[in-house]
């Protein structure tokens, strides 16, 4: 391949990427514009909340429990060397509430609910259900996309909170019940160190942002997928890869903004 051709490929890729980002932004804007009618017909959102939120409950709680247990075990190993195993509660709680809760819950959400959303909408497009809706003068963004978007945005902070709560109980179980760290200092040091606004509220804001980004990526990939079997499978893969990368990168940016200087 000649040098000019390589550079041309890079240019083509760059234009394509920017074009897709622009399309996704336009899509997001349209979703917001047309979401008024889906809020009025709230049962549509409830139906989607069931498939995105309720169905993700088990994986979120089990994963949170085990992440908390591992944190308790590893944290104890490190902290007991310095004789400060009473700070185990602080470590587990801050780690979960600030970072692991929002990030891991969002990663699980992207692969559990995001991929399903993309596949569903992609298949709707492939079987021309979306075109049929347009023929009937039903706006597919208002009828299909907006309820799913709001369901994702609502359920993500709740799932992250449940993940953190389950993780703290996992850490409590390993640290206090199994190893025998003092229960009083576990909870009291945790309460002294974790601030509601600084830590918990910032974690909720993080998961809210992640929920928005993951659902927009999932819905856009589904809506934009080529209407073939191959296209839908490719779009599903792209949803998981793109939203995972977006979560991790955004997490760095948000952490740098929120927790710097404290």
């Amino acid at each position: 391949m000649s040098a000019a051709e390589t550079i041309r490929t890079i240019g083509h890729r760059a234009i394509n990427a920017v074009w897709r980002i622009g399309m996704a932004a336009r899509f997001f804007f349209l979703t917001l514009v047309y979401s008024g009618s889906s809020i009025r017909r709230f049962h549509l959102i409830i139906k989607e909340l069931f498939s995105t939120g309720v169905m993700s409950l088990i994986i979120i709680i089990v994963a949170g429990l085990f992440v908390g247990m591992v944190l308790g075990l590893q944290g104890y190993e490190t902290l007991q060397r310095y004789g400060s195993e009473s700070a185990l509660g602080v470590m587990v709680a801050l780690g979960l509430v600030r970072e692991l809760g929002p990030v891991v819950a969002a990663l699980l959400f992207a692969s559990r609910a995001g991929s399903a959303m993309t596949a569903e909408i992609g298949l709707m497009k492939a079987t021309e259900q979306i075109s049929a809706m347009e023929m009937m003068a039903v706006n597919p963004i208002a009828r299909i996309v907006a309820p799913r978007f709001w369901a994702g945005v609502i359920s993500m902070p709740l799932l992250a909170a449940m993940f953190s709560a389950a993780g703290i109980f996992g850490g409590y179980f390993v640290g206090v019940v199994q190893i025998g760290v003092d229960e009083g200092s576990f909870w009291s040091q945790m309460q002294a160190a974790v601030d509601f606004r600084e830590d918990i509220l910032n974690g909720v804001i993080k998961s809210f942002v992640f929920g928005t980004v993951v659902t927009v990526i999932a819905l856009f990939e589904g809506y934009d997928a080529p209407p073939t079997a191959e296209g839908v499978s490719g779009a599903t893969t792209r949803t998981v890869v793109t939203s995972s990368l977006a979560i991790l990168m955004l997490d760095f940016v948000l952490t740098a903004i929120m927790f710097r200087g404290s």
């Binding site: 069931f50 939120g53 709560a165 703290i168 509601f196």
Partner: protein, 154 residues
């Protein structure tokens, strides 16, 4: 699935999520434990605050009575000005002594208030005059080495 069961499950989901948030706020965070209802502001000057940070606790006889709200450098006297808000229930005499202490050997630093015997109480916006700075470990070690060097060789 039927509409009612769907509603039930989504209701359970939302309630569980909100319960988890409330639990995080109350049991894990400090919203349930320390709620300063009404407070008054007092400031103090220290020549060295060591590792004191905003939101550090202020204790008297080991009881939490307030929080540090602001730390700044006063460029007129080149000393650290520490502003603290104290709980309105607790009043301290005018000659109260403010020390910067460390909890444990390597723990975080806090301000300890030792009440004096004055009959007048500190009011909002006043300054605590008697202060003692933080003990800086490097200074202590330096002094120790200096004293050792002065000792006659055996």
């Amino acid at each position: 699935m039927e509409r009612t069961t769907l509603d039930l499950w989504v209701g359970i989901f939302v309630v569980a999520g909100i319960a988890a948030l409330v639990m995080l706020a109350m049991k894990v965070g400090n919203l349930g434990t320390y709620n300063m209802s009404e407070s008054y502001q007092v400031s103090a000057y220290f020549s060295n605050i060591g590792g004191l940070k905003p939101k550090a606790s202020i204790k008297s006889a080991g009881v939490l009575v307030g929080r540090v709200t602001d730390i700044s450098l006063d460029t007129e006297r080149y000393e650290a000005k520490v502003t603290m808000s104290l709980d309105k229930r607790y009043l301290f005499p005018k000659d109260t002594f403010a020390n910067i202490l460390t909890s444990g050997l390597l723990g975080e630093q806090y301000i300890g208030l030792m009440p004096g015997g004055d009959s007048e109480m500190i009011k909002n916006g006043e300054v605590i005059k008697k202060t003692q700075s933080a003990v800086v470990l490097e200074d202590l070690i330096g002094k120790f080495i200096y004293n050792k060097a002065e000792e006659p060789a055996k």
